[in-house]
């Protein structure tokens, strides 16, 4: 069953795109498809797969490793780069040797967003990045996004919070897939 159809957009360097739409419209599906985790059932995505960094609902942290170890691991996986700027940008410097399991939900979220900056990737794909962040942390995150865009990066995210980041809004509601026809003799089951 199709989820979205007729959707078409471009994203250029230095630009942020914010996806809006009611729950269940297909924001997560769209982001996962863009990230290459699933194939689109129709249409195509033109982008450099090696420029993407994805951050989903789950934080992807190892609770028995420290903050610095978690970040260093992803820095190495994505080809080296220091973790200091990332720690600083998300105000995690004081927590660097704390086990990730001892962090609050908001601190974990900050750590998982800090992961994006150590990847060195240009296009960030963010699924509800601000969940469990307090107002101050949201500001930190917005700053990180602005810095990323200023450095020529791009971001596409699903969020309900107004971050105060210059960005286009894309409402997915008009692209909701129409009901599939019954008796279309296309080899499907309807």
């Amino acid at each position: 069953m199709p989820v979205l159809e007729g959707l078409n957009f471009t994203l250029s360097a230095g630009e942020a795109l914010v996806l809006r739409g009611p729950n269940g419209i297909g924001k997560t599906t769209l982001l996962r498809t863009l990230a290459g985790l699933q194939a689109p059932s129709a249409g195509e995505i033109l982008c450099d797969r090696d420029a993407l960094a994805y951050a989903g609902h789950a934080d992807g942290l190892k609770l028995t490793l420290t903050v610095a170890e978690n970040l260093t691991f992803w820095a190495k996986v994505f080809g080296g780069g220091t973790i200091e700027t990332a720690l600083e940008a998300f105000n995690l410097g004081g927590l660097r040797d704390r086990a990730a399991g001892g962090l609050s939900a908001g601190q974990k979220r900050r750590l998982s967003l800090a992961r994006l900056t150590v990847t060195g990737r240009e296009i960030w794909i963010l699924d509800e990045p601000t969940v469990s962040l307090d107002a101050a942390s949201v500001q930190l995150f917005a700053q990180a996004i602005r810095a990323h865009l200023a450095a020529g990066g791009a971001a596409i995210m699903a969020t309900h919070i107004d971050l105060g980041v210059e960005g286009r809004l894309l409402d997915l509601a008009p692209f909701k897939a129409k009901l599939p026809e019954i008796d279309a003799d296309d080899g499907g089951f309807l």
Partner: protein, 245 residues
């Protein structure tokens, strides 16, 4: 006119409904005829007595037990390469039939083995291979049952079927190496001079053809059921989408 036209669920259903009655009758006639001929109109074997007559159930069931897996392998490959849903559903439909055939082969083998070898079960290579095949069937069916999304299930089970086939062949060789065995050689083969005598062989051929057709009938029938189940699920989901809209 390409064979892939039958990959369309509707075309498949229409065609299989047309041929199923004939196939039912044909397979029933062959099995009943072959069994009656084999049980009552062939002489007893000079060594094995009348116990040999279980061959008319044992050999066809064993044959179809292996061929069912082979059919699942081909159907899985077609799904992986050409993404025809009907193919994946046919593989799913064949598995329970295959497992029953394996079970019949094992049970009739045990019943035959008791008077011949003095034991219901021996860890003979052929017996052991069939037991391992039975386990492969169970795993395959359990994986189909465990996964909700039909496309995910089709993908995972077909890869399991491919990997499992390699390991099933490996197991066959390993088991051969591990124990030489009691089981008599093949009763029928194309390259051997000495087969069972014709008088035993003709009813056996009839039973084998009957079991082959029975397998085909059951798989067509069950695939049709699976298609209807999928169609119903699609209709329900469409209904739900309509309610949301």
């Amino acid at each position: 006119m390409s064979i892939w036209e039958y990959a369309n669920p509707k075309k498949f259903l229409a065609t299989s409904e047309r041929v199923l009655p004939t196939l039912w009758v044909l397979s029933g006639a062959l099995i009943v005829g072959g069994l009656i001929w084999g049980f009552f109109f062939t002489p007893d074997d000079y060594r094995q007595g009348s116990t040999v007559k279980i061959i008319y159930l044992h050999v066809p069931a064993a044959l179809m037990a292996i061929n069912a897996w082979f059919m699942m392998l081909v159907a899985s490959l077609i799904w992986v390469i050409r993404r025809h849903h009907v193919s994946a559903l046919a593989a799913k439909a064949a598995a329970p039939v295959g497992v029953v055939m394996t079970l019949i082969a094992l049970v009739t083998g045990a019943i035959w083995g008791q008077p011949m070898w003095g034991t219901w079960w021996a860890w003979d290579p052929r017996l052991t291979s069939f037991l391992v095949l039975f386990l492969f069937y169970l795993g395959y069916i359990a994986l189909w049952e465990a996964i909700d999304n039909p496309d995910t299930a089709a993908d995972l089970t077909s890869i399991l079927c491919l990997v499992g086939s390699v390991f099933a062949v490996l197991s066959r060789y390993a088991v051969n190496f591990w124990n030489q065995g009691l089981h008599q050689g093949a009763s029928l083969s194309l390259d051997k001079e000495e087969n069972v005598a014709d008088i035993f062989a003709f009813p056996l051929y009839a039973c084998m053809a009957g079991f082959g057709l029975l397998f085909l009938v059951l798989v067509l029938y069950r695939t049709g059921t699976e298609i209807r189940v999928r169609r119903m699920a699609a209709l329900i989901q469409r209904e739900r989408m309509a309610a949301d809209a």
